[in-house]
Amino acid sequence: MSTTMSESGIAVRQRARRMVLLQRTLGQVALYLLVAAVSVLFLFPWLWLISTSLKSPEQIIAVPPQLLPNPVMWINYYYGVTFVDFPRYMLNTLIIATSVMLARIVSCTLVAYALSIVDWPGRPILFALVLATMMLPGQVTLIPLFIIYSRLGWVNTFLPLTLPALFGDAFFIFLMRQFFVTIPRDLVDAARMDGASHFDIYLRVVMPLARPALATLVAFTFIWTYNDFMGPLIYLKDRDLWTLSLGMQGFTQRYGAGGTALGAMMAAATLYTLPMIVLFLAAQQTFIRGIVTTGLK
């Protein structure tokens, strides 16, 4: 087939453009495939968790494993919350988490205020101390504190887990301080000119502005207290005082790791994780900002 020069030129250009387009499309397809493949990797354990939580004991031990539960054993969720005293553990966990949260909202912001708004000579030293204690391993203070709490008769109470929060926490003091220093100085100065005391400024100017940082404090305090295992393990011996983390562990102790209790255990694990997911979906921005600014999970 013969063509004129100009016609072939157009054809070549069109073909080149089509090639680029094709390449770009293929690249896009490959990219989405890769993102989706990694997502499947991340999602599969969740599917496995939920699927196991709905399986009958016979189906759990079936080889090869089947993904879809048949029959669907909703009763596992009933077993999950009754084999161990799930509601009570949930209540205990919430009592501890709420106490720590409330105590920290007050204590950490007060100290952060002294580290950012109040202009006094102790500030740099105190700030250095806060930074220095942030990376202190908890184990270095654990043993004497345990001995003191034992002598006070506080083992088997929530006090060792909640009371220290009244005295602040280096990490959250740092977090709040970083937020307080971004508050425009003019606002504080104007309030001072009007004769407001530091406490007024703290309560009426700084705290209302600090809501986003407080949300981070609340969210992460809740997560860490909810997840904490070592603290409750050391201080809560009495079954009635257990938190969910101990209750989940108690499940294994009582019913073993495998076999028939597994469906109920996975159901309990699902219910144990659910509040975290709900909280995350409800306050995604707070979580993401929290993770990015604090660098911690």
Binding site: L110, L142, L166, I223, M248, Y272
Partner: protein, 314 residues
């Protein structure tokens, strides 16, 4: 207008003006909670731990001074201690870099122009939200040698899977795999860092004819290096204290950190010594060594990183 007190140089006292005094008192009052906390919950227990570490202290007996013996015993007489150090070093030097690399790869993937980023990001971050106890229980089941998901999937393609948590050789890699699933927080931090890299730099590099790979090595990686350093330090601190999953999977009973002590990490061994053998003096010595190692590693990382971390480019 009335003359203000501040304006008159004669009336202003050299250092401690009324205002400065007020500020000082306010500073003390506002920081009082933590000042008390510092003494009661940090300084006193730290010093006491140091004292206990030099005693034989098996509660409820009283502590008895034995000098450096606990430290000497740990390094010369304890057949578990070298293994404990090895286990924790394994988790630190292999686990943390593996997590960092994987997190960075995930973040790079999410940072490409993919539609529906919020959904993908949520999927990647969800595992981070699982409480450690639930995480350990779930993965022990997923990696169950006969009935687990992974080994059956491997069997389907003709591979006999290892015993995972039940094998002394595979138990630590299994822990690392489990942690890599929950790498979402690190990924989000990296993603934020990647989005903070100025777009002009890439455009300029593009004009100079730099390939995507070259751009990654000479723009992206150096610019996010402070974040890498930060994550490395927090990761190392976390891994040295690693406890919950090790306790759930390895156990703390008669053969702690099973199988064969391969999951006996530093945090777990310290717990076993303190709260099962009630060897408070010995555990106190371990706590101070942990503190020293943490401080040393952090200092080393900060020092060495001066060579590869750049703060000026941003």
């Amino acid at each position: 207008m009335a003359t203000s007190v501040e304006a008159s140089p004669i009336l202003r006292r050299p250092r401690w003006s009324k205002r400065a005094q007020r500020e000082f008192i306010a500073g003390l009052l506002f920081s009082a909670p933590w000042l008390i906390g510092l003494v009661v919950f940090i300084a006193y227990p730290m010093i006491t731990t140091l004292y206990y570490s030099l005693t034989r202290y098996e509660i409820p007996l009283e502590p008895r001074w034995i000098g450096w013996k606990n430290y000497v015993d740990l390094f010369t007489g304890d057949r578990f201690f070298p293994k404990v150090l090895y286990n924790s070093a394994f988790l630190t030097f292999i686990g943390i870099p593996a997590q960092l690399v994987f997190a960075l790869l995930c973040a790079l993937l999410l940072n490409l122009k993919v539609r529906g980023q919020v959904i993908w990001r949520t999927i990647y971050i969800l595992p981070t939200l699982m409480p450690p106890v639930a995480l350990a229980l779930l993965w022990r089941w997923i990696l169950n040698p006969e009935l687990g998901l992974v080994n059956n999937a491997l069997k389907a393609i003709g591979i006999t899977g290892p015993l995972w948590f039940a094998s002394p050789l595979w138990s630590k890699p299994s822990i690392i795999i489990m942690q890599m699933w929950a790498v979402g927080a690190m990924t989000i931090i990296y993603l934020a860092a990647l989005q903070g890299v100025p777009q002009e730099l890439y455009e300029a590099a593009e004009i100079d004819g730099a390939s995507t790979t070259q751009q990654f090595w000479s723009i992206t990686l150096p610019l996010i290096s402070p974040v890498t350093l930060f994550q490395l330090i927090t990761g190392v601190i976390w891994s040295l204290q690693f406890f919950t999953e090790a306790y759930i999977i390895g156990g703390a009973g008669t053969s702690p950190g099973a199988p064969e002590g391969s999951l006996l990490f530093y945090g777990l061994y310290l717990y076993v010594q303190a709260f099962q053998y009630l060897n408070m003096g010995y555990a106190a010595a371990m706590a101070w060594i942990l503190f020293a190692i943490t401080a040393l590693v952090t200092w080393l990382l900060l020092r060495v990183s001066r060579r590869w971390t750049s703060y000026d480019l941003v």
